[in-house]
Amino acid sequence: ITPKNLQMLRLSKELQERNRHLTDTELDEILPSDGYEIVKPPESYKPQ
């Protein structure tokens, strides 16, 4: 495995960590609750 591949591997692992799906509890830990409310997505909101 070449140094280049090793670097790519490390970068993609790091990216996966930064791009993981955040659970509700994790969001509660990261984001403030007092003074803020979670906006309920409208019925019309259908992410592709």
């Binding site: 670097q7 790519m8 970068l11 993609s12 790091e14 990216l15 930064r18 791009n19 799906h21 955040l22 509700d24 969001l27 990261i30 984001l31 403030p32 007092d34 003074g35 803020y36 409310e37 979670i38 906006v39 309920k40 997505p41 409208p42 019309s44 909101y45 992410p47 592709q48």
Partner: protein, 89 residues
Amino acid sequence: MALAEQLRLPPEVNQIIYVRNLPLKITPEQLFEIFGKYGPIRQIRRGVASDTKGSAFVAYEDIFDAKNALDHLKGLQVAGKYLSVNYLQ
């Protein structure tokens, strides 16, 4: 852009952006319309207290969508106000 560059995102880039200067009476439909354009949204929290009104945290499922949203929304005018957009610190 070479794959390596794509993988190497600056440290401050993350899935959540913090927006200020939103119109106070903005509706959920408008919020998801404006921010949903850049990709699936994980959660939006909006300020409801006197000191947080007009601000919101928008969490995207994908970090590249958050980056794309921030790059496009910086300085966008909504209802006469210029949005201030930053990554969650």
